[in-house]
Amino acid sequence: MRIARLLVTLFVVGGLAGHAAAQGRSDTLIVVTESGPNSMDIHGVGTNRPAYQASWNIYDRLMTFGVKTLPDGSRMYDYQSLKPELAESWQMAADGTSVTFKLRKDARFHDGTPVSAKDVKWSFDRAVTVGGFPTFQMKAGSLEKPEQFEVVDDTTFRVKFLRKDRFTMPDLAVPVPVIIHSELAKKHATAQDPWALEWLKTNVAASGAYKLESWKPGMETIYVRNEDWKSGPLPKIRRVIVREVPSAGNRRAMLERGDADVSFDLPPKDFSEMAKAGKVAVVSHPVENAHAYVGMNVTKPPFNNAKARQAVAYAIPYETIYSTALFGRGTLVTGNLIAVNTFGYDAKASPYRTDLAKAKQLMAEAGYPSGFETTLSFDMGFATTNEPMAVLLQESLAQIGIKTTINKIPGSNWRNMLLKKEMPLYINAFGGWLNFPEYFFFWNYHSQNAVFNTMSYQNPAMDKLIDAARFETDPKKYAEEVRGFLKLALDDVPRVAVYQPNLDVAMQKTIKGYQYWFHRQLDYRQLAKD
């Protein structure tokens, strides 16, 4: 032991202790994360989630959401209030068919070029044209064609509406419609690549609050404050270092030892213990419009039988999963499909609970008195919670005669498997950015059969209710329609919601100003370090 100490001392000679130095700098934020951005361009193909965080802090959008403080003192974005970012003001047309934005006159890109309306148009044209995720997201707000976007003059920009859609305005404040320095980008565009997708993947043409100082994919990303940022109050943090630390254990250790300031994505157990230990602050928000569920493929036996599906819903050991796999981080929903903080939430809506006798009886009614065999699949990338959940589920299902083989599927294949829609029984999760029940149901239960409708559930009655709710203007009718499709989904039960996950974040107690965002990424602009 003494030799080891000597060795360590030897190696320390000359090096000042790393974390002491890090702590001494109150305007530097050290974030540790499982994986980092793979692109700086949110419009690119295959852009991953951490890239949204990079994009969110580097680029500006026309508008952003306001902030509200919850009863427990935590802060979150306010969907009801749109606030200016690059646009200093906007005006709805009297006929309601367009909106006109006035851009800030003092807004500059990082290279000093003023931001103009043609940059906005180029950026929006790009988002609706390149295909894939950005186009899809724009479409969710009825933003579909370049013709909708019009440059009025250098600082005036108009968006024409295709139809009356209450998602159009908020959709302009989500991460996708970023404003890109079009002149700079066009210099790097080619005939094959008119939107400079290649170049913008690794380069930045932005006007946002942070500049990219250095980016080593797979290692770290360093941001530095844009001192000339005018689209909001100047951020307090001068420099942000985002380090990729793949091991959750290491991330936790670093937080607890003060070597890191903030970390998302830790196993629920770590959050629960850190919250108890009290060394670091743990802030939690139930993720809006999200749940983890047990899905069943309704196109094939045995789960084409609603009774068999109900049997599963009665056999799930909800409480045990909640306390054991989740360590109580999240909200137990026992089948309820509308999240606690989403319109239409009704604590008593779901009839389901753990009731093995009832489950057995349903199995018999379904024509499977002696059970059946099937496979239970989950995404290996989320094994921390999925695996104990699967094991508990397997054990419980065995008691009603359903013998399952657990199938861990590597992340690269999981999406493929979801797309193929062949897995009979699986654990999965969904979360929507826009916090509306019909938005959720449209993607998950509508017979357009989007990839999120993993159960291949198709029911005209359901479609009718969802479609009606999407464009409903009468609040009363709307509430009724929501109740309607919820009831239908609960009766048919192609999927059983088990819990609503939390967005947990652990940070040093000196970190102030954290707020929850629907995109679940960290907004450096709001943070401060005492």
Binding site: A248, R252, A253, P267, K269, A390, V391, I406, K408, P410
Partner: protein
Amino acid sequence: MTSTLRHARYVVGENPVTLLAFGLLIVMLLAALLGSSIAPYDPLATNTVRKLEPPSRAHWFGTDQLGRDILSRVLVATRLDLAIAVGAVSLSFLVGTAAGACAGFFGHWVDRIISRLTDTIMAFPLFVLAMAIVAALGNNIGNVVLATAIINLPFYARMARAEVNVRREAGYVEAARLSGNSALRALRCHVVPNALPPMMVQVSLNLGWAMLNAAGLSFIGLGVRPPTPEWGILVAEGASFILSGEWWIALFPGLALMLAVFCFNLLGDGLRDLIDPRRRT
């Protein structure tokens, strides 16, 4: 026979470490044979009321996240781990030795082809090759065994080739041929039996390595399906609990894994002593 026994006794007497290894092997074999009957609990049964309990009188090795008894899981895993190791090693031993023996015996183009193949495997970063094989062929135990066998092949092929070359030149084969035996028969009856003993040493050393390899694959999530207990998986599961102080979840299966590999390695040394006292290393 008695002289062999006396020799064995001498080797063990000379080398207490070998004795230790033999002891460990016997314990391990017993655990593999009787595992499920001597395990105090059902290794698969969860008991969430008693989750994450440290070692106690009721649970000597503590319990895991789902309240399963770790001692029982470690005990029951012995059989599977041994099976993976033995399966992988015997597969690569059989195929590798046969290929290597053919290469060494026939020479010429047979030798060239087989040597190229082994060169190719050797040039791969072996662990990544194993990962890719399991990922490509499907994530199950059978493929873990296969992948481990493939990355071990070159060692056996090369060794068998070298041994056969030596024996061939030593004249066994000429003699057998002159007395009217076919080449293959000479290979089977004279060369292979003589080359076997030194290869057995390799087998023993390799068993340990195969186990570690399988455990490594488990660690990154490839291999055994939950809830089947397997040491590598148990360590991997426990790894995330180390920092929160639940060290027993990873430690005990880790120790079991280590002891098993340790035992095979020492046993290889002991075997070598038995076969050839001069080549002891």
